[in-house]
Point group: C2
């Protein structure tokens, strides 16, 4: 099946208290977003890349592409009010009967194996989401109460979350719910079972300045 990837960079970086949105911050001198896109075109040279970007960042992105001589072809569409709405905008550019991966722009450290395994599993089974085990103890917190839970039952979910495009597009026709923190949840609410595949631990989401410093090191390992 033909492959598409939607790179979701709808946000504008307020969580890092920085003027530079996180997807434009530099790792090894190159914007995070360029690392991220390159992971997918390296894994699948024929993949179609759709970039969902906050509208007010379009000019800055164009300038960065020129400056870094970044020539990987990609379609651009506008970010929405929430991540859900950004993904929905991206899905409008995806045809039926392809496999589409939906990936956080702020995850530049996804490995070649994670990308290939997740797309392959989704092609075969309709959907696939990479995940990794938790190595720390966990507690369930509700109000002022909290209790130990068995960490072996919990997986940390990563991206790219991959789907048959027909399926995920239908799921996104449902009304938005704030519980939708990722795309697998949207498909699950539509009644489908989610297939987990193994992700790579380096595939962290860059949310804080500390993550950026970590990413600068990890990029040399993958």
């Amino acid at each position: 099946m033909k492959k598409y990837v939607i790179i979701v960079a709808g946000g504008s970086g307020s969580r890092m208290n920085s003027d530079v949105p996180k997807q434009f911050m530099l790792i090894e001198g190159k914007p995070v977003l360029m690392h991220t896109i390159t992971r997918f075109t390296a894994a699948f040279p024929e993949i179609t890349v759709i970039l969902v970007l906050a509208k007010q960042l379009n000019d800055e992105w164009a300038t960065l592409c020129k400056k870094h001589d970044f020539k990987i072809p990609h379609q651009l569409t506008d970010g929405g009010e929430t991540r859900y709405h950004s993904v929905k905008n991206g899905l409008e550019l995806v045809p039926d009967a392809v496999v589409v991966g939906i990936h956080d722009a702020a995850r530049p450290l996804v490995s070649d194996a994670t990308i290939k395994n997740t797309f392959a599993a989704a092609e075969e089974r309709g959907n696939a989401t990479p995940s990794v085990l938790i190595s720390d103890s966990l507690r369930y917190v509700k109000g002022v109460e909290n209790t130990a839970v068995d960490r072996n039952h919990y997986h940390i979910v990563q991206t790219p979350q991959c789907f048959h495009s027909d399926l995920i597009k239908k799921a996104f026709l449902k009304a938005y719910k704030p519980e939708f923190t990722d795309d697998a949840s949207v498909l699950e609410a539509f009644g489908e079972k989610i297939n987990l595949v193994e992700g790579n631990r380096e595939n962290i989401k860059i949310t804080t300045t500390m993550d950026l410093v970590i990413a600068e090191v990890l990029v040399k390992l993958i």
Copy 2:
């Protein structure tokens, strides 16, 4: 109240496929375990340090202390069959009516604030455990089934887990259960409510070679 810390280094490093146990691996040229001990004596110069170490590593530790001119006084006791048994051995050296922190040797990046806040909360409330929020989506996995869960209800638990010594020693008189992945769980099984305080995100447990590489960078930040 007088302060004690039990540094738990019972393991012998098999998870890293390395001949060097993880607590002896180097960060900035110094064994992880020396970083860890120094965090506590820097926070509380009068603290009593108890090191629980696998018996077969005693000679190597003595050699390392000499080589690195490491002179922080500490009592040494043997590791047990599991983490639970190692902690129990350490607790035998702790008197009643003190506050005792129980800390993973492989967490050299605990901050001064985390140590001070956790000991202070435990002194006031009987127990305290540092924790941080999860920034990724989570799924609950049971057999082949899995479902999305609300990550806002889950906290990742760190160490030092701190206690009135009378209380935790009584809790450790209970029989061992494999569910005890940390010391707060032991106290909870004894019927006490656990108090969570804010940890620091850098306070990772070094389990893999990747963690060690990350730690080498983070140690410069805290």
